[in-house]
Assembly symmetry: C3
Homo-oligomer: 304 residues x 3
């Protein structure tokens, strides 16, 4: 669905985020990777648009933070759909080009967590409904943002979900060790995390990785109908009901924190550096073949 | 299956419940809505029979309480099946006709909870096996009683499950925010609670809302065979095994209590009153069209 | 797949377990029931080979303990597959022939638990990946070892899983009350434990009892490909990722301890002795008909 072609208003975030100055100074040096489209005051779309692969890096963090802050503070918003404008990619792994210090030097978010996991736990706790509509690859941060969302709907034919990190000698950092077992049980969570392979839409539904995998040509309409339905409901009833589900189902922030710390430790280990270097030489972040078949290529790497 | 036609004994609850006086005084002013049929001393059926919709109200509470007390105290009972005698309805939402005080003035149950959530947590903790056999609509209290039961089996063609409350600006009160995420994970639980739509038998099985959805003409026999099997087993082994599953899987009573309190708060809010009034004018509690397609009609309401 | 025929090395456990002396003295009086085949230094197969039924008894415990100790301590190992060499049986119930004291007199394991649950929790916490490949019956201890493993893959046509214990007036002792509800939710866990019936491969997948049920002729290749893939990954990344999933998903040791205590109590009750005696007279531990259709025969027993 092309919203600009459909004549819908395409707006940038208009509400004043708490850390607006910081966001603007960051955005001055980065191209805009995320757009917010307000279908109605109650229903927004957040569109990842960082071609060719929707890679997520330290430069993306202030942009997503501004969006999450707007989601938290808008008094009329009820439902947000996360979507992608990049064919073949919902949102994928962390950007390995910037130095690690570009990530580790970022100030903590409101929860006290590093801003990446901070934003994810804030999406889960926001008083509005978040829906990840997954078409193409949702790997690494992409999978983690989907898992932090309240619901996930995937294209049966075109969705690929994965936590690829162990295949690169990394520990995932955005919370999947906490979220996946609570969603689908320990066995399937360990298969996803330790098998670290690409998971198609049908299996993702069977495992509970997504709520449902819908036929490609039904996905947009299904998610839109659900979002419009929720947008007619009462904001307070949504928030109060969700808060009690949060109590029953969300991991604690410290549990998320130790996962992030384990990622930062892992990325500095020689074995991870050795494997990421091989992947970069193969074409990580530059080749559609590598980015599109990451599950396969991690298996071909030499061991340090 | 028509038990009377089949010549089976149809009995009312014979054991003396602890609060028998209170029950009888209540029952004097209310028609009997629940029947207990003792197939054998070890296997009972509890039949909801309050046509035309099996609506559950404050007047139903003492009747169900007497049944739950009998279930807790009968020394020979091993398995109870919850069933309905009303075509199209297993058990549905709370009765909005009596004043709120008719609900809030009821004395607490043995757990210290309001008697509605009290009965539900006592069903979960009873030393016998409870099975909800769902044919027709299980909405609101009906879904909550099914979720409090140990197992749920549904008609693939004729079961409809839902937590419709958010669609009426209510927070559900009988525990589904606590029970659904533990049963099926956060994502699908939030879809059921915040989408608040009707869920058919097949999807209910896929989501784990029920153990299995069976073809309509196999459901009775399947549940009967399972119940008769369990009735041959040792009562103590059942109780001791279930107690350890309870430890691993049941929410705490305070978690249930905050859900009930959130419901009572929500029902008094103007937006809920506004939406319930609209639904009553459309035919809630009087029209089979409204009661049968509640998921649809909540979406048509004006916003206050 | 016949590894000897395929020319692969077939080795016994070569690394010195911490309690080697004890193990050797026990093994002197018992036939070897478990073999370890090292496909590569990173990938082992542990083969249950105690025909005709792969019954697990107190005499098996030191043998499995030696294997688990080797798995914990081998510095190169990354993935272990549990498999069976006995047609029709993965691993089945506890051996009722030895006196109870042969089980209760065994010294506690490193966790402080009785050595049977001790080994199971150590498999779950080991820094390597464990995969149960289930072909034939996994009942009682067999199901419990599969549930303690990180992942479970089953033959769609030939796997049978069950916790049969309640059918013999026993409480299961190896942790399924703790593990099953966390894996598949309370309702399906209670059906498996209190229905105590045989579960085929297809239903086991639908319930999440196994990760996937694969067609019989694809199972070996699937598990082998997955194990070889994991064996190329970094050992530290596997261990660090798994540890955080453990935090989110494993029951505590005391929760496992109370399950074992409940089993020991139950097996001494007259009703359990009465039912086990009937099963032994029918052919438990001697007849393939009884061992192969245990779910059926428990239902035929007289009640004491």
């Amino acid at each position: 669905m092309n919203y600009e072609a459909a004549g819908l208003a395409v707006e940038t975030t208009g509400s004043p985020p708490q850390n607006a100055l910081h966001v603007e100074s960051q955005q001055a040096s980065s191209a805009r990777q995320i757009r917010v489209e307000r279908h109605t005051p109650a229903y927004w779309r957040v569109i990842f648009d960082n071609p060719p692969f929707n890679i997520f890096g330290p430069e993306t963090i202030p942009q997503l933070d501004a969006v999450v802050t707007a989601i938290e503070n808008d008094p009329e918003l009820k439902v947000v759909v996360f979507d992608s404008a990049v064919p073949g990619f919902f949102l994928t792994h962390y950007n390995f080009t910037p130095p690690l210090s570009a990530s580790t030097s970022l100030p903590s978010g409101p929860t006290g967590l590093h801003p990446l996991p901070d934003m994810l736990v804030r999406i889960s706790r926001a008083p509005v409904v978040s829906i990840a509509m997954i078409r193409g690859r949702a790997t690494g941060v992409g999978s983690e943002l989907a898992l932090a969302s309240d619901m996930r709907f995937a294209s049966r034919e075109r969705a690929i979900l994965s936590q690829w990190e162990v295949g690169a000698a990394l520990v995932p950092g955005g919370g999947p060790m906490a979220r996946l077992p609570r969603l689908m049980g320990r066995g399937r969570a360990l298969e996803i995390l330790l098998g670290a392979d690409d998971i198609g839409g049908e299996l993702a539904e069977r495992y509970g990785y997504v709520n449902r995998a819908l036929p490609e040509d039904e996905l947009d309409a299904f998610v839109d109908v659900l979002a419009m339905r929720i947008a007619t409901f009462d904001r307070q009833a949504i928030a109060d009901t969700k808060r009690l589900v949060d109590f029953a189902s969300l991991p604690s922030d410290p549990e998320i924190a130790i996962g992030w710390d384990a990622f930062i430790t892992s990325v500095q280990r020689p074995e991870a550096q050795f494997r990421i270097k091989q992947l970069m030489e193969l074409g990580l972040q530059t080749s559609g073949e590598i980015e599109g078949r990451l599950g396969h290529y991690t298996e071909t790497l030499g061991q340090g």
